[in-house]
């Protein structure tokens, strides 16, 4: 199969690796322009409070202070749906009240310290279930259930489904508040010059920021240029134009000087977006042979103080898509609370219901006395199932191969034993979980541009922001393969709104599909134009030509001409354009199965992940090194979701108690087990060269697989993340009692 391709499927270093390892790569936070001003926020110490007075007199006197802005200076519009750019009602601890802009950070801080804000604290609500009550404090006047009522999605007849069931299993699950903790915090440099705004933003989607800032400043999009050459991590937190970028742009226009606003680490914990906590009730009906007959689910998404996006609808998809089930009822609540904002984080709405559903499936398999692997194979949604509501099949489906290969790799058949079989204080366990989601699919917009220069070299111009997933390299490989040229002949310019076209955000694992398809089609368009010229030069039909290693030959001939020679009589450089289309009547999904081995020390409660096999249907691995890196990185974050990360809110004050890297626990190199990627290639008919996106799913699978392995080790089930030493010890106590 690999013989088909010259470049696709080869192991390549990142196209921009030299810049990234040498300190030469300039991230938005590294940018320093002459005369640049620095902005800093004063944020609310209260979870809910009315601002009654802001005294800025002393701060104004600080030399070098250029602007102090409060809610009184803000435009009347709300950002996103319901967020003031600076607020007079703080709705979470960390809500932005004042911004100070000064000639340097010291001066800005000095001025901030001199500002006196009077607050009238208001009652607050932190628990999404309590927030539903009629007497709960209201975060916004319109009530705490966003949209006024829950979302409801049904299929078939659940009453009938439960009647057909031999066993009905109910349980409740909780997942915590998490922060993305991107290494580079939220940061933006805005420069207003010659009636035009140029912005260097650490963003996953420059075009979204362009549109947002054009709206905010009421100027045409053509006057806004947003550039993101390098960025230090996004994971979903940097997908929109946010308050800090709006403010930097407004003040730059006002002062005529470049303005940089970079959030501190603590501000990033409080005021950036988060993986929102969820509370999930599941009730599943199943026949004795393991066939699912009915699913009744309720998901509560605690979106915090402001409504960025409809998280719960994404979460509801997991319940409806991973398994084949004719009778389903899913109810979903998007809730306001006085906690930090919920938003998109790696695999967006899926990891939370994934944990709940997979833990639940593990529980049901146990109650049925079935092997968890057999139970998954019995019920997983097949190729023909796809969207079970609209009856659209999947475009490709490697689920069964993922399960079988993962099981084989870990030795499931001969090593999986009954729970708690290991003697001694360190108990071994094996666990598994599966995953399906729409990430990695084709979306709109999908576009690309490919330019062939007179010397035969090629520029790929793509809207794709390279977050470190090797997206530039992927585009180069796709273009080089399509054009039949060596990789070195291609240069990629990415994520500059002025010279590239929109491929959507580097979100939803989409860029291989959207940027990749656009680039491939653009390369094909450029190639067609090139071959027309070559055909004239070689006095033959263009259908009679092929390109090998950058040389154009008449079919089968040993003598050909270079691109440069073919372009000699070209009226202008070649520009190829590509627009990708959405598939009709089919849905593209990614699939995965993880198998994990853990050791649980019952004296300390420590869970150690020993080994993790991560099998992923990637369609086709364009660059296997990048794919492995994404799987290993995503799975590591997923392990932390299972065992470690938790942004804790003090229930008495609503304040975050761990907004720093000492107390918010990330994994270090010592905590990471051996993670062994298994690449399943299903050659998707819609992806470029058969590829699908794959970067987010690795996050979703480890947590439930680990929970399953812990149960297998010690016979205790956990329905709340993270599973800490404390929860393990408490669970063991419960077992004794």
């Amino acid at each position: 199969m690999d013989k088909e391709f010259k470049i696709i499927g080869t192991r390549q270093p990142k196209l921009d690796a030299s810049e990234r390892v040498s300190g030469r790569a300039k991230y938005a936070s590294d940018i320093c322009l002459p005369g640049m001003l620095y902005g800093k926020f004063l944020t609310s110490p209260y979870a809910h409070a009315k601002v009654t007075n802001i005294d800025i007199e002393k701060a104004k006197a600080v030399p070098g202070v250029k602007a102090i802005l409060t809610h009184k200076d803000m435009p009347p519009y709300r950002w996103h749906q319901d967020m003031p750019i600076l607020t007079d009602v703080a709705r979470f601890e960390g809500d932005d009240i004042v911004v100070v802009v000064a000639v340097d950070e010291d001066r800005a801080q000095e001025a901030l310290d001199l500002i006196k804000v009077d607050y009238e604290p208001l009652p607050f609500v932190l628990d999404a279930e309590k927030a539903m009550g009629p007497d709960a404090p209201k975060v916004h006047p319109q009530g705490n259930i966003i949209g006024g009522k829950p979302k409801l999605s049904t299929r078939g007849d659940i009453e009938k489904g439960f009647k057909e069931a031999d066993l009905i299993v109910e349980n409740k699950y909780w997942t915590p508040l998490l922060q993305h903790v991107t290494a580079e915090p939220r940061v933006c440099v805005a420069q207003w010059r010659n009636r035009k705004l140029t912005v260097w933003d650490s963003t996953q989607h420059t075009f979204e920021v362009q549109e947002g800032l054009a709206k905010a400043l009421e100027i045409p999009m053509s006057k806004v240029r947003v550039i993101c050459e390098f960025m230090g991590g996004g994971f979903g937190d940097k997908a929109y134009a946010e308050r800090y970028s709006v403010l930097a742009s407004l003040v730059s226009r006002k002062t005529g000087r470049p303005v940089k606003i970079e959030l501190s680490r603590e501000e990033n914990f409080l005021a950036a977006t988060h993986r929102y906590p969820t509370i999930i009730n599941l009730k599943y009906g199943v026949k004795r042979d393991g066939t699912l007959t009915a699913i009744d689910a309720r998901i509560i998404a605690d979106l915090g103080a402001y409504f960025h996006f409809d998280g719960v609808s994404v979460s509801m998809e997991t319940i409806k898509t991973v398994y084949r089930c004719p009778n389903i009822r899913v109810e979903g609540y998007n809730m306001y609370t006085n906690k930090p904002e919920g938003g998109a984080m790696r695999c967006v709405g899926h990891p939370m219901p994934q944990f709940a559903q997979e833990a639940h499936m593990d529980l049901i398999a146990d109650k049925l006395g079935m092997d968890p692997v057999d139970f998954r194979i019995k019920n997983y949604a097949r190729l023909e199932d796809g969207d079970q509501d609209r009856k659209f099949p999947f475009s490709s489906n490697g689920m069964e191969e993922c399960i079988r290969k993962g099981a084989e790799a870990i030795g499931w058949k001969h090593r999986w034993q009954k729970p708690g079989s290991t003697p001694g204080p360190i108990k071994k366990g094996l666990g598994m979980a599966v995953h399906t989601c729409r990430h990695g699919a084709m979306r709109s917009p999908s576009s690309g541009m490919v330019k062939i220069n007179p010397d035969g070299t090629v520029n790929v111009l793509t809207g794709t922001a390279d977050l470190g997933g090797g997206q530039r390299g992927t585009m180069a490989m796709i273009a080089a393969e399509e054009l039949g040229i060596p990789l070195e002949q291609v240069y990629v310019t990415a994520a500059d709104t002025e010279v590239t076209t929109d491929t959507g955000g580097t979100t939803g694992s989409r860029q291989t599909m959207t940027g990749g398809t656009g680039t491939r089609l653009a390369a094909a368009d450029a190639k067609r134009q090139l071959l027309e010229l070559a055909a004239q030069e070689l006095k033959t039909d263009k259908g009679n030509l092929e390109i090998r290693e950058g040389v154009i030959y008449p079919l089968g001939a040993s003598k050909g001409i270079s691109f440069e020679e073919a372009l000699k009589k070209a009226p202008a450089a070649i520009i190829g354009r590509g627009i990708g289309k959405l598939p009709q009547g089919k849905i593209i999904h990614s699939f995965a199965a993880h198998f994990v081995e853990v050791e649980v020390d019952i004296r300390t409660g420590t869970v150690k992940v020993i080994k993790l096999f991560a099998a992923h249907d990637v369609g086709r691995a364009i660059n296997p090194v990048s794919v492995e890196n994404q799987i290993q990185g995503g799975a590591t974050q997923g392990i932390a979701f299972g065992l470690r990360e938790n942004q804790i809110t003090d229930r008495n004050t609503g304040a975050c108690v761990n907004p720093d890297l000492v107390n918010y626990k990330l994994l270090t190199i010592k905590d990471v087990p051996e993670i062994l990627p298994i690449l399943v290639e299903t050659n998707d008919p819609y992806g470029p060269f058969g590829a699908k996106g794959m970067a987010e799913p690795p996050y979703s699978v480890p947590a439930p697989a680990i929970a399953s392995a812990i149960y297998n080790a010690i016979g205790v089930r956990f329905n709340q993340l993270p599973i800490t030493n404390r929860s393990v010890l408490d669970g063991l106590k419960g077992l004794k009692a």
Binding site: D30, G35, A67, P75, V103, V181, F235, K670
Partner: protein
Amino acid sequence: MGEKEKKPKEKKSRIPLKVSRRDFLKGMGTTAVAATLTAGALPLPEAEATLPAGVKEALIQLTVNGQVHRVKVKSHWTLLEVLRRELGLTGAKRFCDRGSCGACTVIMEDKAIYACSRLAIEADGKKITTIEGLSDGEKLHPIQEAFVEHDGLQCGFCTSGQILSVKAFLDKNPRPSRAEMKEALSGNICRCSAYPKILESAMAASQKG
């Protein structure tokens, strides 16, 4: 950015007293703004006239990547701030800014340190290597080459720190075990979690040298 901008003439850059609706935001409290926005760009550095209470200045000497710099610093500035802002060496990054992530790692007198956790005045007279000093022009150091070859990075924001930790460690212990290497890198967080490939790169570098 390397972008050179002519210093704006004072007259031109001053905020217009008459704020037109087009030039300013609809609905913005214009009086409040006029009151709170002070006049535009004065010749820099304009804030140096007075120092806040308790802040002192000092002239220090740093030898960075073999080059001697004399820098006027404020007493509370960190080494990281001085490297990034005063010397323009932005390879060392600000991630946590509290000595708990390692993205700002530099080598000071043969020891890997967190530049965010040293005051610049503490580094007076010291020899410092930053990531910019590791490569020889376009030619990468063998450790950097190993990171490229083994894809030991994703976003790259922590990479300078990772590489300098490897460098400082290999200088002392050129043939470490995997466990020793993990220990040496345990103070460098990679949020993308490219850890398996970072370890692979670091071990490959140890075999190269």
